[in-house]
Amino acid sequence: MLDSGDTAWVLISTALVMLMTFPGLALFYGGLVRRKNVLATIMQSFFVLCMISIQWILIGYSLSFGPDQGHFIGSLAWFGLKGVGMAPNPDYAATIPHLLFMAYQMMFAVITPGLITGAFAERMKFSTYVVFTLLWATLVYDPVCHWVWGAGGWLKNIGALDFAGGTVVHVSSGISALVCALVLGKRRGYGREPMPPHNLPLCLIGAALLWFGWFGFNAGSALGANELAVSAFIATNTAAAAAALTWMFIEWKAIGKPTILGGATGAVAGLVAITPAAGFVTPLSSIIIGMMVGVVCYTSVAVIKLRFGYDDSLDAFGVHGVGGMLGALATGLFAEKIVNPAGNNGLFSGNPALLMTQATGVITAAAYAVAVTFILLKVLEATMGLRVEDEEEVIGLDITQHEESAYTLLD
């Protein structure tokens, strides 16, 4: 039965999630790089929006949500959206057109590879980026999405909970980002030359749009204009606020002053961590999850990364990978059936089994993403080359990859 209220909310949520990639993520990352690379960085987010929009229609949706093949991947029976029409598909969303569910999921498929770009910012060759992203979306995102959300997917079958994509989106992209940072190596001069963010206001507009769009990401994942959407909406805002405050207070204590970039990073970490839990936990649990992720992500970004010296340039792993894993596990701790009868009880509600299930989901998704990403990068390294030439890197990617520059001296 189609419901016009549900349809309206999911339509809006679809647009909100689109906004997260472009310009949300684009500006968030674009402000963090040096001025010679801002357009190239924005271009990566923009390009992924265009490219995956087409990939998803042709094969992506079918591979992710199409008829199950051995609990691992969807078949190509829905190639080009064959048979995906206005009638609702009760497996996924019983009150909105199947096509709308497809469009909503498309925006998730778009943003996920976009998140990875933070790891190889300022040095990736654009042509290789295009090929890598297309292959990654098809070989990593689509299968993992099927495992967790597709009808018949094996993680769905064992009862792993992922409300809005903690594992599907953030763990898969975050852990792949770490592989990218390690395989590509550091930016030229990393650790020796200063590489401060070139425009924090841009970055903060991006962070604000991410927070705003995340209401569509999480509350939209209720797939209806209902109580669950309201509950997820509140959990989302609460965790973001708690994580941002936590991050800023840690900075205040550790370096003497709270920073706005720290606050924004904390907010994004909170949003990441609440993503898998948003539809299963109470507002009070959201506060605790936000505080936990604030501490853990701060440590991963400001302590662990510096100690090991890898150049996860914009902290795609430190925020999305680490925050996503923490969120998925926290779901196993804090989930309550009182919040969502379709969910499950977590450890603190007397069901330790859920925590094990959540851990299984995180570990297998992470291991699979690491393996495929590594192979992809090695093949591309040998065939196309991953990095721009040294001199191109020094001159900047805006001019060398796109023949444009963001800021002029005169006029």
């Binding site: 001069g189 020094v394 023949e403 444009e404 520059s405």
Partner: protein, 113 residues
């Protein structure tokens, strides 16, 4: 006392600064400038329309030094900024008649270093 003005490629700035540090020349002023030399313009494309600018982005270094540092400064800048291609830039050396450190009101050679 001499004033050294060097116009270099922006992407060579970090290398030049490092090289100057090695020669113990620490005090300098750096600015973004536009300039035109033998390299002529470069073309950028906006919505399919070619924009050829005559003026190129360069970086200008100003370094005031006592006589004995002049050669090592020139050497450091040349070593780091040279690619051998058109557009590497130029170094100008000017006589400097006076120098005052505002904080202490010292003048001349004592105020430079």
């Amino acid at each position: 006392m001499k004033l050294i003005i060097a116009i270099i490629q922006p992407h060579k700035l970090e290398d030049v600064l490092q090289e100057l540090d090695k020669s113990e020349i620490y005090l300098k002023t750096v600015s973004n400038v536009l300039g035109c030399g033998r390299q002529k313009g470069r073309t950028e494309v906006y919505r399919g329309k070619k924009e050829t600018g005559n003026l190129l982005k360069k970086v200008r270094l100003e370094i005031a030094v006592n006589e004995k540092f002049v050669d090592s400064a020139i050497l450091a800048i040349t070593k780091a900024a040279k690619t051998g291609r058109i557009g590497d830039g130029k170094i100008f050396v000017l006589d400097l008649t006076e120098c005052v450190r505002i904080r202490t009101e010292e003048r001349g050679s004592a105020a430079i270093g």
